[in-house]
Subunit: 213 residues, 2 copies
């Protein structure tokens, strides 16, 4: 039985990287990998990887390594990638369109069931075959579809009212590209923030301060 | 004189958040903020903020708080946001187009001087008024423009050869949306990775394991 108590966020954040790398190996037809080889390719120590996987019960055998296919599936299960959580996306601007068409939600545990925007120039258009709905339909849609997660691709100023509506509709999980601090307002939500500006500014700092790389 | 030695990445990664929040206050016309108020709004302790800012020489006065405008400018300077580093973007697919049109490079220390793609269906089109060039022009362009940074919005499999060309052209700084591990191959590069898939998978894990929020 996997042990799953008090696992640190830094361990959890390494899991997608393992999963991604193992999927890549699988696609290349690699069937087995030693912990040393895996660690070199991932830029981690073999003991770090063992420790991480031990949090979930441990995999692989001493001196035998890992069976790629099996480890990949196990990590996918730990991540919960087969859950197909219903997701909706709010904001069909440049970023929203890119996220809706670029990301493979199906491979990462979600199913994108609805795309919303409030601008008449966007509603009615299609992204990857899916129609962009008017945000006035949000209540009806959510009551019927009961989405688990919402992707927020709207500017900070618009988030406040949308969040309130989504929260009242029972949506508690957010993939947040806006700069609005959702978890600060609602402490019973699960929020993954993607702050592209922060990442770009951090890069600027690191370029400007080469000794701090 | 600001002290700037061995500042931890976790401090550095909080700076853009301070900057973002202070810019927002500035836009709202707020001129002064107490360290307590700042800490509440940012979800950090006042002592944490003081400690962070002390790494750079300290700002604000005991019992007086921070002058928003001044602190914002100081943090902008620390981040190096006025540098206007020349940047190029490779890959004008959905994500590349969104990044090129959605991001305010100018506000984050960069100037987007060129966009490249190898697909004939994309070259010659325009994004935000800028023409998408053929990647065959990369050498000529970089020798002339000497960009400091490259944004990589191409699939993992295409990165290997592009990186080799960019590295040979002297580009050492990357904002990397691909899954290719650049720093592993070239250890004298500065790389900010944005792994959208990893973020989405982490969210899936956190939804699937509510006790681990």
């Amino acid at each position: 039985m996997p042990r799953r108590e008090n696992i640190s966020m830094s361990v959890i954040r390494r899991l997608p990287r393992y999963y991604r790398f193992l999927t890549h190996l699988k696609q290349k037809g690699v069937t087995r990998i030693s912990s040393t080889e895996l660690s070199v390719k991932l830029g981690l120590t073999a003991s770090q990887i063992r420790q991480d996987l031990n949090c979930f019960g441990g995999f692989g055998q001493q001196g035998y390594g890992y069976i790629v296919d099996q480890l990949c599936d196990e990590i996918g299960n730990i991540l919960g990638l087969s859950n197909e959580y219903k997701a909706i996306l709010i904001g069909a601007g440049n970023l929203g369109r890119a996220i809706a068409s670029h990301m493979s939600f199906d491979d990462e545990g979600f199913r994108l069931v609805g795309i919303f925007d409030s601008s008449p120039s966007k509603t009615g258009t299609r992204i990857n075959g899916q129609i962009v709905r008017d945000t006035v339909e949000l209540e009806d849609f959510c009551q019927k579809e009961q989405p688990t997660m919402a992707v927020l691709c709207i500017p900070r100023d618009g988030v406040h009212t949308v969040i309130e509506r989504l929260y009242n509709l029972g949506v508690r999980n957010y993939w947040n590209f806006s700069h609005y601090d959702i978890a600060m307002k609602y402490d019973d939500t699960v929020v993954e923030n993607v702050h592209l500006n922060d990442s770009l500014m951090t890069l600027c700092y690191r370029i400007s301060n080469p000794s701090q790389k």
